[in-house]
Subunit: 211 residues, 4 copies
């Protein structure tokens, strides 16, 4: 009664495996909004447009739905590293690609990420999956910057902090937009460029001190 069906079953033909997908989509959507407990099987079934019991024909129990959704987070290291391919002369383009790629990845997984964020303390298996995306992103970028530092292209310094700043920016924007529904008065593309410029300046500058 809150929301209409999630998908068009509209008939009775050819929705064989579709039911399972509808359930997953409904659960994902609801859990991302209401949390695991808030996404009751009744609400899931209503949103999916199926009978409540049908859920249990497709999944052993409610927890199994979550586990299935969690499989949607796969390791993204390789993909991120691809965006950083190139030598120092291309750093700026690489950073831009990286920003876009990372942000897009967050958006594509926004529901499962929200679920992880919400359920971090309730479902132990969630934590490691949850940390993988943001932390991997910091690591991959940090490693690349470190490499350039080692090659003398960048002044020695805080590659890790720089990577963290860069990644944080997009994660934060993502959270603001999709969790808090907050318009940051930012066009994403604009943010990618601005942040890239600031970071480029920040790490190629010459006024570093400490350590």
């Amino acid at each position: 009664m809150d929301q209409p069906d999630i998908g068009p079953s509209q008939g009775g033909r050819g929705e064989e495996q579709e039911t399972r997908e509808r359930i997953l989509a409904a659960a994902s959507q609801l859990m991302a909004k209401k949390g695991y407990k808030g996404a009751t099987t009744r609400k899931i079934s209503q949103l999916a447009g199926v009978n409540e019991v049908t859920i249990f024909r497709h999944f052993k129990n409610k927890e199994a739905i979550l586990e299935e959704l969690l499989k949607g987070i796969v390791d993204i290291r390789q993909q991120l590293e691809n965006d950083l391919h190139g030598d120092f002369s291309e750093l700026k383009q690489m950073l831009l690609r990286y920003a876009r790629g990372y942000y897009q990845m967050l958006v594509e997984r926004k529901e499962i990420l929200m679920i992880c964020m919400i359920e971090a303390d309730n479902h132990p298996e969630v934590i490691k999956l949850f940390s993988s995306l943001p932390m991997t992103a910091v690591e991959v970028l940090s490693n690349k910057l470190q490499e350039f530092q080692d090659q003398g292209h960048l002044p020695k310094g805080d590659a890790c902090a720089a990577a963290l700043m860069f990644v944080s920016t997009f994660f934060y924007s993502f959270m603001a937009k999709y969790r808090v529904n907050l318009s940051l008065n930012f066009q994403e593309e604009q943010l990618f460029e601005d942040a890239t410029n600031i970071l480029m300046n920040g790490i190629t500058g010459n006024t570093h001190s400490h350590r």
Copy 2:
């Protein structure tokens, strides 16, 4: 069974208000970990060391506990602005102060922030409160940077993006530490300095281009 009392009342006089505080503290702690629904009145009462019904002598219902907790988020604009007091020559010190002050504020409010994060979609009144802290922080810093740009101290540009990057960094670290229990291999103080340096370089550099 899981956790001991949050603090025994160990006396006998004037516990009226103390009981209320114990309930609030227990609820805050549990909701921050388990969410609103996960923090059952039974668990709250056990952690608070009071009878379950006692909760309802102090609060109309469970929702009222949350509302009370939300009052704990007050506007922090004034305090943040104080940390940015000074002229351009002190910018670096200002940024460091700002970073420390902002991060400390997050930590001091970590439970209620987690609750807001978790319940953003369930309790409408949460959203505006929740957005206040991070967004205010961006705004305040952005305004100050803009001011310096207007005064010619900083090249025209992306004050808002810069502020966002700076603030994001600490919010992200805060989330990683307190939500995901992820050690970022960062000492906070080190991060404050590194991020400040990078930002200083980033915004005072001379290679800006973008529109």
Copy 3:
């Protein structure tokens, strides 16, 4: 998962009736162990190695399976009486035959008997069927003993009590072995002989008193 198929159909022709038997066998086995409710159609189908729905092609509903099983209890009076054929000089041999025959009959019907025992109060039609075996056994023996008493071969007395004792002994042993899985430290054959001896002594003795 618990038990393998009750028997593969290993062929392809004429399994129609066989499927039905497999279902009956599985249901009998499960109901004897777990009771009517504990024998779910799913478990029955798994043990029978058929699809759950197939059950309902062969039986109107689950209750009909039980009814079919109950038909397996037929009157045994004739058979029991056959074991008691003979004159008084053969009493001991007759008793031995009777014991063996009765016990064997119990064992052959152990599953349906257990079902009756378990479901006595749930399925009204069960009770009369259930009582038929043990009570008939007492009656038939009692009649025979009475006959001998009337002929003067046995002292007047408690033919019915004697028959009850005799029959009880084997029913009790049967229950202990097949319901409680209790080894009574008895070989059945030994028990048949011992009980026969005791009964023979008991009813041919000369020290009777009671009214």
Copy 4:
């Protein structure tokens, strides 16, 4: 709607611990008739005249009710042995006492015994408790008879079989009456005396053979 309340709550005073007892009584009664699964918490609560949820304030879960009921079966060896106190001259009186005592014990525990009988295969802890009563009864009597045999009062022989016959008789009668609601055309007292006489004759007779 099937049965009225089990006990007179009729007011609201002084039924503090009584509620628990009412639930236990209702559960015992229903489980003895319908089995564990057949005794739904709803039916129990209705028969007990309490709200369904109240059951779970008094018992962790349904299984805990059964466990509590099972505690009602305590070791009866001592009591049975008391009934067999005396020397050989009193054997007949002892047997009578024993029959009465054993039968009374069965009747007093009739509900829990029926539950055990029904659930023997479903609840593993039931089996050992269940076997204790009947087997102990056989053992105790068998030991006493053996003792008399060793003292030369009784001919060497099948004390165990004799004990089994005796005990079986009453257990069988008990089952017939309380499980199958079958009138055996027996007054219990008459059966005690008849069975005692037959056993006395049976074991003191002189026509034993084998071993």
